[in-house]
Amino acid sequence: MASVALRSVSKSFGHVPVITDVNLEIADGELVVFVGPSGCGKSTLLRLIAGLVPVGAGDIVIDGEVVTDIPASKRGIAFVFQSYALYPHMTIARNIGFALETLGLSRQEIDAKVAEVAATLKIDHLLARRPRELSGGQRQRVAIGRALVRQPEVFLFDEPLSNLDSDLRMEMRMEIAKLHANLAATMIYVTHDQVEAMTLADRIVVLNRGRIEQIGTPQQLYHAPQNRFVAGFIGSPRMNFMAVSANASSSDCHMQGPGSLSFDVSLSAPGVPAEIGIRPEALSIATQGQGKVTGTLERLEDLGHEHLAYIRIAPDVAWSVRLSNSLGKNALGTSIGLDWRFEDLFLFDKNGHRLDHSLSHERSAVANGVRA
């Protein structure tokens, strides 16, 4: 098993910078998930670590050794592709054993290892078939088997579950978590699926335009995002934002905004809030004529286990609210007040950095699960 480190890694395709000065330390046995919007460079970063794409600048270190110029197959890494990339003209057994074949192992050794891996993944009855005769889930298992058989020190997954339907995706997610627990191998996992990121990761790396926005545990990212991008990216439905005008006098700050928003907050550090953010699950419906902000109920969605309400506060601002009970169809079009607790309020300055306010020390308590 091995640790992985990226030191000032940059990469550009032609004149387009894809990865800019990325620094990252991944501990031995850790499962790190890269998330970010499409085109943020997460797949490229994975391919840089694998050695499938040559590094532009900086170094990649695996197990304390600089591997920047070492070919992909000699880095002790296995890669699971989004499309599975099974060789269509080979049987499943040969697909799994192909890397060993290239290494020059004897037939018996290869057969033994393939059989062992197939047994752990419960695909031993498929060994004589070809990829096109397999279902999506089975192909996924074969792809993982192909990675396992080489006993790599680091596993790289590139959106491995994105081609599966949701039931199968959940099953395979558990499977990968189990695999990680059993092997205690270092894993790097790229996904755009929030649930996969939140449930699998020891730590999440949020990428945006080729830069790291924040690195942290799923709870840190959810409860203490460093900036507006991370706050908006983690969580579904996404965080509600609204531009406000702030009137700062020393640490006390008076804020005004659409929907007759008006309140005071004391900042723990100097800065001028330009935007507020509140998660849909932190909002509650206020009693008539109350609440910190008011808007018109525009739409209701019944998801069975929860209800989503969309409330228009200004022509270009609509907030979503997560509720456990329905507001009733009659409420549509009526004016509604929204309330929240101060510790659930996020403030961002005009550059998108989060500003701490006086109650934010309580948020760390929340992060540790001590909800009052």
Binding site: R47, A50, L52, A72, S73, K74, I77, A78, F79, F81, Q82, S83, Y84, A85, L86, Y87, P88, H89, F98, A99, T102, L103, R130, P131, R132, E133, L134, S135, G136, R139, R146, N163
Partner: protein, 288 residues
């Protein structure tokens, strides 16, 4: 709510469908006639003797004297052998070189790639007549004049560009992840090409190979120019230069018999490989 759409009776649409089917049938028949008639005419003519030829009867006379004569002719057998050698060698060489070039042009990144591809395309633009005299000089310098191999050398100039182009576009459309998987599995470029790409390129290789074979088999101008004696002629030239018993007799019957004979191998080849051409081997490579 919805827009008002004018609708006729069901019988009307049924009748329209029949009319359309009938029209399609007529068109197909017409097209088939256009395509097949020359070949049928050649078969009919090849079984007629002497003055019968000037009789435009569409039924074959079923007299195979011309064919028997043809097979007794040692020169014709030599020219068939020559044609086979030239066509097979041309096909093999252009597929081999074309695959290597296509892999480089389709997958490897090097700065001159674009201009190289364009050059390849440019070569195939020139009409044969333009390169004829230059090619003649080249062949003389290499001492290949009046040898069968001179034709292989000459044919590569038009088979290689198109095999390279077709195979390049095929390799380009190849799923990138499949190749990356092979790289992770420790394959060299050579092994990727031979173990992963080639087995999957079957349909592309067969169809381009078939085209190259047909081009080389039927080529006339180069073959006429670069060979002199009967022993080094290919079939199209041999047929073109068939002489009658006297200078006043045009050997129409024997020519037709020979033409039909040399077309048969091509038809057999195409029929044999047509299933391979259609087979989609990449199915199941990715997704599902």
């Amino acid at each position: 709510m919805s827009m008002r759409i004018k609708r006729r009776s069901a019988a009307y649409y049924r009748a329209m469908r029949r009319v359309r089917q009938f029209a399609l049938g007529c068109l197909t028949a017409l097209l088939l006639f256009y395509v097949l008639f020359p070949y049928y005419w050649a078969i009919v003519s090849s079984t007629k003797q002497g003055a019968e030829l000037y009789n435009s009867v569409l039924l074959p006379a079923l007299d195979f004297r011309h064919y028997k004569e043809l097979f007794r002719d040692a020169n014709f057998a030599t020219s068939i052998l020559n044609s086979l050698c030239v066509a097979i060698a041309t096909t093999a060489l252009s597929l081999g070189l074309g695959t290597l070039a296509a892999y480089a042009l389709g997958r490897l990144n090097f700065p001159e790639r674009r201009s190289l591809l364009l050059t390849v395309l440019m070569i195939s633009i020139f009409p044969q007549v333009v390169v004829l005299s230059g090619m003649f000089e080249l062949i003389r310098w290499f001492g290949l004049y009046n040898r069968v191999w001179s034709l292989v050398f000459a044919y590569l100039i038009f088979t290689l560009p198109f095999t390279t182009w077709v195979l390049t576009s095929f390799i380009r459309e190849f799923p990138r992840e499949l190749e990356e998987a092979a790289i992770m599995d420790g394959c060299s470029h050579w092994r990727i090409l031979t173990s992963i790409l080639l087995p999957l390129m079957g349909p592309a290789l067969v169809s381009t190979g078939l085209l190259a074979f047909i081009l080389a088999w039927n080529e006339f101008l180069f073959a006429l120019t670069f060979t002199l004696t009967e022993g080094s002629r290919t079939v199209p030239v041999a047929i073109g230069l068939l002489a009658g018993n006297s200078r006043y007799e045009y050997p129409f019957g024997p020519i037709m018999a020979a033409s039909v004979t040399v077309t048969l191998p091509l038809i057999v080849l195409v029929l044999f490989f047509q299933r391979k051409i259609v087979a989609g081997l990449t199915a199941g490579a990715v997704k599902g």
